[in-house]
């Protein structure tokens, strides 16, 4: 990846992170921690990987994305708005009764959302279905998904994993946002889903382990995944929950809590500072 492209993606990711903070601050609830940890994956997907058309979100041959960890809707909405699917100004209406931006993604209300999610473990099954449809119709679109590491505790994830390997869905690439934390505490203490890579390998997937907050590593893994035939790919991205905001980073308490005015100001100031550094 050339340096300029990388810089551009990092700037985009930082702008998305700023939107996440504004969304959750205005909603006075929501999930900033996991949204900030998966922001870099979403940024690379929508700004350097996926074939989508903001003017025609339902384009039949588009690449598809399913946010299996649906509670990170703030990051998805911020990414879609940044891409141009809908106005960025609408982001502050998140979770309000008169807004189309519900707490968890609704495919029938939000332009660019390919599947309604929110109940953990279900999104990856839908992604398998989309990839299977691509195979049935001999279409060359690709399907992407992001799962949480806590989400891997849902048995349905492994049912879906089996099916994706059984049907040789090499048009499916998923991520695990491996930030190591879930609501009740560290995954190691609550219900350990590790070793994650070995599990997906055993289920017949092609697996990469990368830094999930590094746009270049994310893009490299996505490129390699496209060359693998006969197997789905799982990219396990080690991330920091709350990435980009010092007081949220790696803090389980920021899984589902909104910042107050002071915290919001500090978060935005830190992200602006980072952005300035990137621009310089």
């Amino acid at each position: 990846m050339d340096k300029l492209k990388k810089l551009e993606l990092m700037k985009t990711a930082t702008n998305i992170r700023k939107s996440v903070i504004e969304e959750v601050f205005n909603a006075k609830s929501g999930h900033p921690g996991g949204s900030l940890s998966c922001t870099d994956m979403l940024t690379v997907l929508y700004f350097d990987e996926m074939n989508v058309d903001t003017k025609n979100p339902q384009w039949a041959d588009r690449d598809r994305f399913v946010l299996s960890k649906g509670h990170c809707a703030p990051a998805l909405y911020a990414t879609l708005a940044e891409k141009g699917f809908f106005p960025k100004e609408d982001l502050v209406t998140l979770r309000k009764t008169d807004s189309y931006l519900e707490g968890h993604p609704n495919m029938n209300h939000v332009p660019g959302v390919d599947m309604s999610t929110g109940s953990l473990g279900q999104g990856i099954s839908a992604a398998v279905g989309m990839a299977l449809a691509g195979k049935i119709d001999n279409k060359d679109y690709r399907v992407y998904s992001i799962l949480g590491d806590g989400e891997l505790e849902e048995g349905q994830v492994w049912e879906a994993a089996m099916a994706a390997a059984q049907f040789k869905l090499d048009n499916l690439t998923a991520f695990v946002d491996y930030n190591g934390l879930q609501i009740d505490g560290p995954i190691k203490e609550v219900m350990c889903s590790e070793p994650i890579a070995a599990k997906f390998e055993a289920f017949g997937w092609n697996v990469y382990e990368i830094c999930g907050n590094d746009v270049e590593e994310i893009k490299d893994a996505l490129e390699k995944a496209k060359t693998v035939k006969g197997k789905p790919t799982m990219i396990i991205g080690k991330t920091f929950k709350g990435k980009g905001v010092s007081f949220m980073e790696n803090q389980v308490g920021w899984h589902g809590k909104a910042p107050n005015q002071e915290q919001r100001d500090q978060a935005i100031a830190e992200l602006d500072e980072y952005l300035k550094g990137l621009e310089a």
Binding site: V66, M115, S125, V128, G129, M130, L132, A133, E159
Partner: protein, 314 residues
């Protein structure tokens, strides 16, 4: 008169309507031989996928397929479809209003010898409670065939219930209509209305014959659609006959009886008696013996009809 299980009619209809329709994809959870989706698998293997013993994932995969424009049939036994995979149906199919047809077989006591674990007696109540869901329970082979055609033409989530046991044809003239949400009046009558669903339509017809010999003219409705329920037909029955008996191979809570009572008590109150399983699990046995044991019979409908008539609001 023909005699065929509604599950057999389902399998045949899938081939009849789905063979040349590329939009149709069929999924099963390792029960293709029993649910009869195996008939489609044999004829159209490229659009049949066995999802293995993983019903939750099957519903999610069905949803994903449907987002691309497929009409997806997902089949397994009614217990596993409506209860094990209930939340997947709710969140991945009904909430986004995706075009998935959950076609569940082996519903009710007539599953027989496999016993309680496999006899769904709650599925109509559970599926009926989900927003965006259409719930259909055809009584015989010919109406099961038309039900499959109707749900293909309807865009949105459907739950259809099919039985294991062979049942006598109710519809012998192939020109009958099957419209989702529209009950079929099979017998005209003014003294009481017998509303049956599924195989209890046949029992309701038998009950009407018995009542006739005693000078009671019973109207018989085939309520093949549990949701949206045919309010007009129910209100008309309440007004014109003043007494209603519902009959279903299902628990007494929340199924046909509940749906009919909701309409009657809010629109035109009249006595409603219910023939149904009395909030119990089933057990192993021959289907006919079980129906007798649980009181899901024409004789019971006759008894309830007389009670309903006696309780009429003067």
């Amino acid at each position: 008169m023909g005699k065929i299980a509604t599950r057999d009619a389902y399998g045949q209809a899938l081939v009849q309507y789905g063979k040349d329709d590329n939009r149709i994809v069929v999924l099963d959870a390792d029960l293709a031989a029993a649910t009869k989706t195996g008939v489609f698998k044999k004829d159209v293997p490229e659009r049949f996928f066995d999802m293995g013993i993983a019903e939750g994932n099957m519903m999610g995969v069905a949803a994903g397929l449907a987002t691309t424009g497929k009409i997806v049939f997902a089949s397994t036994f009614a217990v596993f479809a409506s209860e094990r995979a209930c939340e997947q149906i709710r969140n991945s199919i009904c909430y986004p209003k995706l075009n998935v047809k959950v076609c569940a077989t082996h519903a009710g006591l007539t599953v027989g010898e496999d016993g309680a674990s496999h006899q769904a007696l709650e599925d109509l109540a559970i599926m009926r409670a989900l927003p965006n869901m259409v719930v259909i329970n055809p009584c015989d082979g010919p109406s099961a065939n038309k039900a499959v055609k109707a749900i293909i033409d309807y865009e949105g989530p459907c739950y259809s219930r099919f039985g294991r046991a062979a049942v006598e044809d109710v519809y012998t003239d192939e020109n009958f209509t099957f419209e989702i949400g529209k009950a079929n009046e099979l017998v005209a009558g003014k003294d009481v209305t017998l509303i049956g669903t599924g195989m209890m339509v046949q029992e309701s017809l038998k009950a009407a014959e018995i009542l006739k010999t005693e000078g009671i003219n019973a109207r018989v409705l085939d309520m093949h659609t549990i949701k949206p329920i045919d309010k007009d037909a129910i209100i008309k029955a309440a007004i014109e006959t003043g007494a209603i008996v519902t009959a279903e191979e299902h628990n007494i809570i929340g199924g046909l009886g509940g749906a009919v009572a909701e309409v009657v008590c809010q629109n035109y109150p009249c006595p409603v008696k219910m023939v149904a399983v009395q909030d119990k699990f089933g057990t192993s046995g021959a289907p006919a013996e079980l129906l007798e044991m649980y009181g899901i019979t024409a004789a019971e409908i006759v008894k309830k009809a007389k009670e309903a008539i006696a309780a009429k609001i003067k």
